[in-house]
Amino acid sequence: MADLLPGTLDMLILRTLTLAEMHGYAIAQHIARVSNDALQIEKGSLYPALERLQRSGWVVSKWAQSPTGRRARYYRITASGRRALGDEVSAFKATYDAVARVLSARLKSET
């Protein structure tokens, strides 16, 4: 996966969890699928991020049976997590727009 902007991974995870409770692998799969495999979340980034989100109280987890019958840890976004997601998304949008403006300006000058 290409380097993400700092904080982006947290945002992606939070966004994914707004759809449903899911376990870590499902989160990674979902992000990969939705991004057409452009965003492959390494497990080495995913689980520390989930740990971090839990410490912040934005995500909570519980152990439950997965459909295949194995025990899996399911993550759920909390109300404060949803608020944080809103903040992050707007912050990201602002950054994204700024970056886009810079890039497009340069592109124009090149042409």
């Binding site: 692998y25 689980y47 740990e51 839990q54 410490r55 899996a72």
Partner: protein
């Protein structure tokens, strides 16, 4: 609630680190197997699936570390690790562990016991809201605690205070029972007025009685929480039950909250009843001493005070005291009772013991400091021994901070173990101590029993932490200061006993000197006090006090039996002489006084002319060993009908008859006329308190006395140990007065030791502390010297190879040890003076700057220091130069 979720998560991780690890493993395993399955599905190849998945996954261990070491609480995790590691390290050297924990335990334990006593004796307040506002009313002529108010005065004052004034009297009641079971002397508060309203006490169950119920004498009782739970399990179950006082039933209507334990200092109340509901005999008592008027002084205190004083001055200031004694210039006073009222006529335990306890606290603190420095020295030696380990860890990339923390955690562990051991020792020790208090100090018992409450626990925890700071930080910093290279090279030549360790030993010696010299001062005090009693040879004097109160014998019967008893005592083999008196020497309270009246001294006010005055029989002075300085003793002709005669004490003669012979002069007592002729002057003798100077005394002739009183005292001089005479004396008493109360039948030396029990206990404890301190300092000195000798083996070998003799080597090592002791003594002398100055209030007959205890302490330290360094110096002398030089 994000912070709650977050906190729950962190706490879980903190308390169940193992579980979190396992769950992480499980989560990763699931992830792996799902990824494997997907991989297999995508490629159709299953053989390489696990490896491929793991390649995807990356370094599992690294990742686990990463997931663990994130977040703001991460510093707590490695501390758990530090604790486990430290514990392993400590367990590897059990002797060190035991010595350190034990010495710290003794130190913290002693601190906990003394702090517990101080806390319950000095710091604890009455369990009511805003206890600082509580006051009792005094009518104090000269600031003396006198609180007798007549019923009419009480009514007037209560009216002036408008429902904010109540009275109570705490008394121990015999013959109370509950459920048919007699109670062991419960404390019954007989109250009147709006008592519970003034105190602002609330009920834990039921209700508390109010002013009208206490006025009407309804037979109801409010009991303490402790009593209710002891006899009825729950407070609620006590409501409606009956307690009997003097056979009369009282219905329990309420239970107070557990924090309220009554107003009496040192004795928890059992129940409170309306004073008017008590039996007539007790009700009359309720006007006597020990009845207190209690009120609150809030911000309006100046106003309240003024209005009460106005009322009092108008109605009562010149009235009669209860009991008929006239009262001059009574003034209203207010006494802060936020710590409780001292019970009746008893000794004021708080005043008597708070100073000694504070001194002991200082002593045990110094002791603990010495113990700490010893452990610190041990830790430092350990750190030196572990320098290679530390160097290896540093070279492997451990940060210095981490290592310092690791070593400090070890110190904390030690201190924690020491604190726990201390608490156990304190529990055991305080129970032992309060059960085995010397005669005369029993009333300290309840305060010494350690109450394992929050204050004591916090104090101990704080002490343990402070200990760890004292002995843990410096060794930890020092151990990690040496560079990696130096630590790994481990060159022996560089190892010298660092200055800091020698400094610590010197400090220990100094502190030990402080404790030793303080102990010396207290021992000297004890000796001077014991010698200061007037008279001589208390070992062969038997004191007998008989009491007719509460017995079938009347006062007259007792008085009439006195001559017969005297004859019976004299007939006992081993008895030299018998005298009769009125006062038991050295027993608190009850010294009769009167106001002297004599020509030329009429202008003195009553207090200045107050002297002790009591009757004694012929032979009293000889029997007690009081010298007759001038004139004569009483004799058989001094009886009623002849000239009334007195003998006066020397200090009285010096004050009132300076420079002339008082024999033949006539004196008297104010209000009774002059007419007492002085026939003799005797030496001064102490009567109540050894610390106060002997009272000026007028001895009256017992045969001329008209007021016999309800007690009789005999002084019996024996030729040998007076305890041999005791059975015969008892038999003689019972033959004459079969049911008389025998208050005292003791050798005078016993009374003396009761009187100096506090001082003796202080002396014994301070000597024990002093010796412990010396022992610890000796151990410290031994450690440093032994280390120094072993570190300098090669140097010593060289010296010997160059011709130094064994004696010279021994002298060199001893000289260095004694130099340390000398530095310590030099440091200790000013410290000892500071300590002695703060002891001043406890001393008697010695000045704080007495050089003798210091000299003795220094001599003991030099002797012990020499002994402690003999072993290292001998091993230095046994160094074989050939081996030593080749060693490295």
């Amino acid at each position: 609630m994000s912070f709650l979720d977050a906190a729950r998560y962190r706490l879980r991780a903190l308390f169940r680190p193992g579980a979190a690890d396992r769950e992480r493993e499980e989560e990763f395993a699931l992830h792996n197997s799902l990824a494997e399955a997907d991989h297999a599905h995508a490629t159709g190849d299953t053989s390489d699936a696990p490896h491929a998945a793991r390649r995807d996954f990356g370094n599992v261990t690294y990742m686990k570390e990463e997931t663990r070491w994130t977040g703001p609480m991460r510093w707590l995790d490695p501390i758990g690790q530090d604790v486990r590691y430290g514990w392993r390290a400590l367990r590897r050297s059990p002797v060190f562990l035991i010595v350190a924990v034990l010495s710290l335990g003794i130190g913290t334990g002693a601190n906990a016991v003394i702090f517990g006593a101080i806390h319950s004796l000095v710091l604890t307040k009455v369990g009511v809201p805003n206890a600082d506002e509580l006051r009792i009313l005094l009518n104090a002529p000269d600031g003396v605690l006198r609180a007798f108010f007549s019923p009419s005065e009480e009514v007037a004052l209560r009216a002036a205070r408008g429902g904010e004034l109540a009275s109570f009297r705490a008394q121990r009641v015999r013959g109370a029972e509950v459920n048919g079971v007699p109670l062991a002397d419960p404390v019954v508060d007989a109250v009147d007025g709006p008592f519970f309203k003034v105190l602002d006490v609330r009920a834990a169950a039921g209700r508390l009685f109010d002013e009208s119920e206490s006025r009407d004498g309804v037979p109801i009782a409010v009991v303490s929480h402790r009593f209710a739970t002891a006899h009825f399990v729950t407070p609620a179950a006590a409501i409606g039950k009956t307690v009997k006082i003097d056979g009369a039933p009282f219905t329990i209507i309420g239970v107070t909250r557990p924090e309220y334990e009554g107003l009496s200092f040192g004795a928890s109340y059992t129940m409170a009843v309306p004073a008017t509901a008590l039996a007539a005999g007790r009700a009359r008592d309720n006007r006597g001493p020990g009845t207190f008027l209690v009120t609150r002084m809030r911000r309006d205190s100046a106003q309240v005070r003024a209005s009460l004083e106005a009322v009092f001055n108008a109605c009562c200031a010149n009235g009669e005291l209860a009991g008929g004694a006239t009262s001059g210039n009574r003034r209203l006073g207010f006494l802060d009772i936020s710590h409780g009222v001292n019970e009746g006529k008893k000794v004021d335990v708080r005043a008597r013991y708070s100073n000694p306890l504070l001194a002991l606290m200082a002593g045990v603190a110094v002791l603990l400091l010495i113990a700490c420095t010893n452990v610190g020295n041990l830790l430092m030696a350990r750190a030196t021994a572990r320098s290679r380990e530390i160097a290896v860890r540093l070279s492997l990339g451990a940060s210095r901070g981490r290592l310092v923390r690791q070593l400090f955690v070890e110190a904390l562990l030690l201190a924690g173990c020491g604190g726990l051991a201390g608490l156990l020792l304190a529990l055991w020790g305080s129970a032992l101590l309060s059960r085995n208090l010397p005669v005369g100090m029993e009333n300290l018992g309840p305060f010494l029993t350690l109450r394992m409450g929050a204050p004591v626990l916090w104090f101990t925890a704080a002490v343990a932490f402070a200990c760890a700071l004292v002995f843990g930080v410096v060794p930890a910093l020092r151990a990690t200061r040496r560079g990696v290279a130096a630590g790994l090279r481990d060159d022996r030549g560089a190892r010298r006993t660092p200055r800091i360790e020698r400094g610590i030993v010197a400090l220990q010696v100094g502190l030990a000197l402080v404790l030793m010299s303080s102990a010396g001062l207290l021992v000297a005090t004890l000796k001077h006090l014991a010698e200061s009693v007037g008279g001589s040879n208390p070992e062969t004097l038997l004191v007998v006090q008989l009491d007719a109160r509460g017995t079938p014998h009347s006062d007259t019967a007792l008085h009439l039996a006195v001559p017969t008893l005297k004859a019976r005592f004299e007939a006992i083999p081993g008895v030299q002489s018998v005298a009769e008196s009125y006062v038991v020497p050295l027993i608190y309270g009850g010294l009769p006084t009167n106001v002297l009246d004599l020509a030329g001294f009429e202008q003195l006010d009553d207090a200045q002319a107050e002297v002790a005055a009591f009757p004694v029989s012929p032979g009293y002075f000889a029997t007690l060993g009081v010298n007759v300085i001038a004139g004569r003793d009483f004799n058989e002709r001094d009886v009623i009908g002849t000239q009334r005669v007195v003998v006066i004490s020397e200090n009285l003669a010096q004050q009132f008859f300076p420079g002339r012979n008082p024999v033949g002069e006539v004196i008297g007592f104010r209000g009774a006329g002059r007419g007492l002729q002085i026939v003799g002057v005797v030496g001064d003798a102490k009567q109540t308190d050894l610390r106060s100077p002997a009272p000026r005394t007028v001895y009256l002739a017992s045969a001329q006395a008209t007021d016999f009183g309800d007690r009789a005292v005999f002084a019996v001089r024996t030729t040998a140990d007076p305890t041999i005479v005791i059975p015969a004396a008892r038999a003689a008493i019972l033959a004459e007065l079969p049911r008389i109360g025998i208050r005292h039948l003791h050798p005078m030396s016993d009374l003396l030791s009761i009187t100096v029990a506090r001082e003796r206990t202080m002396a014994v404890l301070s000597i024990a502390f002093g010796l412990l301190a010396v022992l610890l300092a000796a151990i410290g000195l031994y450690g440093v010297m032994a280390f120094q000798v072993s570190a300098r083996t090669r140097e010593i070998g060289v010296r010997m190879a160059l011709g130094a003799s064994q004696t010279q080597v021994i002298r060199m090592v001893l000289g260095q040890a004694l130099a340390l002791v000398a530095i310590g003594v030099a440091v200790g002398v000013p410290l000892a003076f500071v300590g002695a100055r703060s002891l001043r209030a406890l001393l008697y007959g010695v000045t704080p700057f007495d050089p003798l205890p210091l000299a003795i302490g220094a001599a003991v330290l030099v002797a012990v220091g020499t002994i402690a360094s003999l072993v290292p110096s001998r091993s230095a002398a046994r160094v074989d130069p050939l081996i030593a030089i080749r060693a490295d």
